[in-house]
Subunit: 413 residues, 2 copies
């Protein structure tokens, strides 16, 4: 397996293969158009439509206290277990836009329902881009008219393009999954510019399959896989107003995935690998980014390992060291200590790429040259041991380089 | 008043004046020497000694779970209400150094007690610099022999110099304070390189006065003033392993500060202004730093306003916008939302330098040119309103520019 599954931290299951074609699963069509929202003139309105009347869905959203209007509208006015269409625009997040913003998001929902041929409450609305500027919904409506005419089973690329803001890497996949009950297709389009976002590190991800799922199964699998992927990455530690993940299953393959079956296990493995690799691509997609880090913390307390892992992944001192390929593990010790207040003296173990540098809270003699080489790899793994056993947490994180500062400080508006 | 009190955010009380000379308060002597710990050959060992047998003190420390050996030794082996000496080295934090590190810190304490002529348990030990490297205590001991011979009432400058790592600005003051019961002197030496620290944003601060304080008064005043100063700054959001603040009162002025007296109020005001200005100097002392921000959050919930203020101050997106002089308030909305999960839709108000940009969660039309000018000032104030009343939190924060990345990523070791 080459191509999509590029990270050593994602195990591509043997029953998952990248498709040779680029078609959406049976029952889905998509399109992307340029509607004049992005100043660049690029694609900025996307539409995904599912023709299966009994499609099943699941969704996850940002928990931010400042939610964008499309998220509020989708949560309040859509049947999250029976979505059949998604409308997305880039260039404007429709966040901090008050009542007018809600009206525009509702208008997008209605226009997308018309274009996709589904009821209003089966449409999810998503936006990404600048915050605090009113969205011109008429542009989206006009765009949807054009998108309607372009809807195609081959439209995933256009849809993904229409979601991008400052994304550089393509973040999508077309996978075939061999299940005991038959073959299904699994596709996804994701955006998330991570640390390079001049406006926001908004992440959106839309997943499609022609497997037949129960709503409870779809919700369970998406929940578990999001927790192991998009919930395990730190770009700049900033939670967006617009984060949205939507899974839709058309069922048109005829392959039914029964709860607690071998089919469910295998499908779950495929979805897990897919979302984890997409999450890693988000982390990697930082301008000026040189390296991706993975921190794994072991210990006795679930909250402690979680807090320590996130503190390391979010530390600008650790991120700059990662960027420079600097095995400066004192910064890791510092971040862990700051996450676990009042626990001193802490018997802390640290290893970088398997090289132990700190044991029981004390520096160890190391082969400096070997450590330097390890810290300069493209993917760098930090393993941290806290007292106790039984709990583990991992976080993937990007580095912090000049590109982040340049895009976020110098491209003022 | 010019000079030390340079920020509009610190009110220099009318009864506080900068001294024309540079002498420590009566009863104190200090020195700094080059002991060969810093590769640069600069001053790296400092000693502060108080000759008053009945001096009174108070101290505050980092709450990190990874505390440096000097902090552990000071907490465990010193009488924190009766300190009469401080020994400090720069160039090595003596952190993550295990048992040998504790032995070296204890050795520093003993040698400093000899040099200062006080019992071991009246000596505080402080270190700052690289983490995870064993400290050569013999160098410190040799340095203390030399420092002993140099101890002088005029030694505050040397002491401050010996505390520096990557600090650029001098962060010390010599103040005279007019109290109803008489005049006292108040001096302080502080280090904290904030965002430019190549190794750690360790902060140390030593405060001296010749006022006579009860131990309870010293502890109360230091606690309150630290909460309003060093506890209200965000450099890179990183808590150090070595943070130490020590206040020593010699009592040699003969001016006694009784609890709940007008003297206590006035002395407290002076200490508050002193520590707040020192904290602001720490924030300002970032390489490549262009601006300092202040965020003030009002609302109904003490924890909510606190979390929101710290989230804004720690956000790399807000910090890069501040650096670029960009009035990108969507990033502020995003940071507040991320701090207050599950509260959407949030009636959020935002003003930048008094210009209202968001009201009730909705963007307001603004004079863009005026807003651009406001965001490009040297000190930029962000005022945030959350629902409710009665609670307020403020945080001062530095920006995030190329200098931070350069020093922290490119100067590898």
């Amino acid at each position: 397996m080459t191509g999509f599954f590029s990270s050593r931290w994602v195990d591509a299951p043997p029953h998952v293969t990248e498709a040779s074609d680029d078609r959406l699963p049976s029952g889905f069509r998509a399109a992307g158009v340029a509607a004049g929202i992005k100043p660049s003139g690029g694609l900025d309105v996307g539409l995904l439509a599912c023709g299966a009347p009994d499609a099943v869905s699941a969704a996850r959203f940002s928990a931010s206290g400042v939610l964008a209007a499309p998220v509020l509208v989708t949560q309040e006015r859509a049947r999250l277990d029976a979505l059949r269409a998604v409308v997305v625009n880039s260039g404007n997040a429709n966040a901090a836009t008050g009542r007018p913003g809600l009206d525009e998001a509702a208008r997008m929902q209605g226009a997308a329902a018309m274009a996709a041929g589904v009821p209003n409450d089966q449409v999810a609305v998503a936006s990404t881009g600048v915050i605090g500027v009113q969205l011109d919904g008429q542009k989206v409506v006009n765009g949807l008219l054009a998108a309607n005419a372009r809807l195609s089973p081959d439209g995933a690329g256009e849809l993904a393009e229409a979601m991008k803001t400052t994304d550089v890497l393509d973040k999508r996949a077309t996978l075939d999954v061999e299940l005991p009950s038959g073959r299904v297709r699994l596709t996804a389009q994701c955006k998330g510019a991570g640390m390079i976002s001049p406006r926001f590190a908004t992440m959106l991800c839309f997943v499609q399959t022609d497997a037949r799922l129960e709503p409870e199964t779809a919700d369970l699998l998406l929940g578990v896989c999001v927790k192991r992927s998009f919930d395990r990455v730190s770009v700049d530690g900033q939670l967006s107003t617009n984060d949205t993940v939507v899974l839709i299953a058309s069922g048109e393959s005829g392959v039914a995935i029964a709860p607690e079956s071998e089919d469910e296990l295998r499908f779950g493995e495929a979805l897990d690998a897919l979302l984890r690799q997409l999450a890693l691509l988000m982390v990697r997609d930082g301008e000026g980014s040189a390296r991706v880090g993975r921190v794994v913390v072991h210990g006795g307390h679930p909250h402690g390992v979680e807090r320590a892992a996130r503190a390391v992944a979010n530390s600008p001192l650790v991120k700059t060291a990662l960027h420079g390929g600097d095995p400066n593990w004192g910064r890791i010790a510092q971040a862990v200590g700051a996450a676990l207040l009042g626990t001193a003296p802490l018997a802390l173990d640290i290893a970088i790429e398997g090289i132990r540098v700190c044991s029981g809270g004390m520096a160890l003699p190391v082969d400096d040259a070997a450590l330097q080489r390890a810290a300069a790899r493209e993917e760098v793994e930090y393993e941290i041991g806290l007292p106790g056993e039984g709990a583990e947490a991992e976080v993937f994180f990007s580095d912090l380089g000049h590109g982040y500062v340049t895009i976020n400080a110098e491209y003022t508006t």
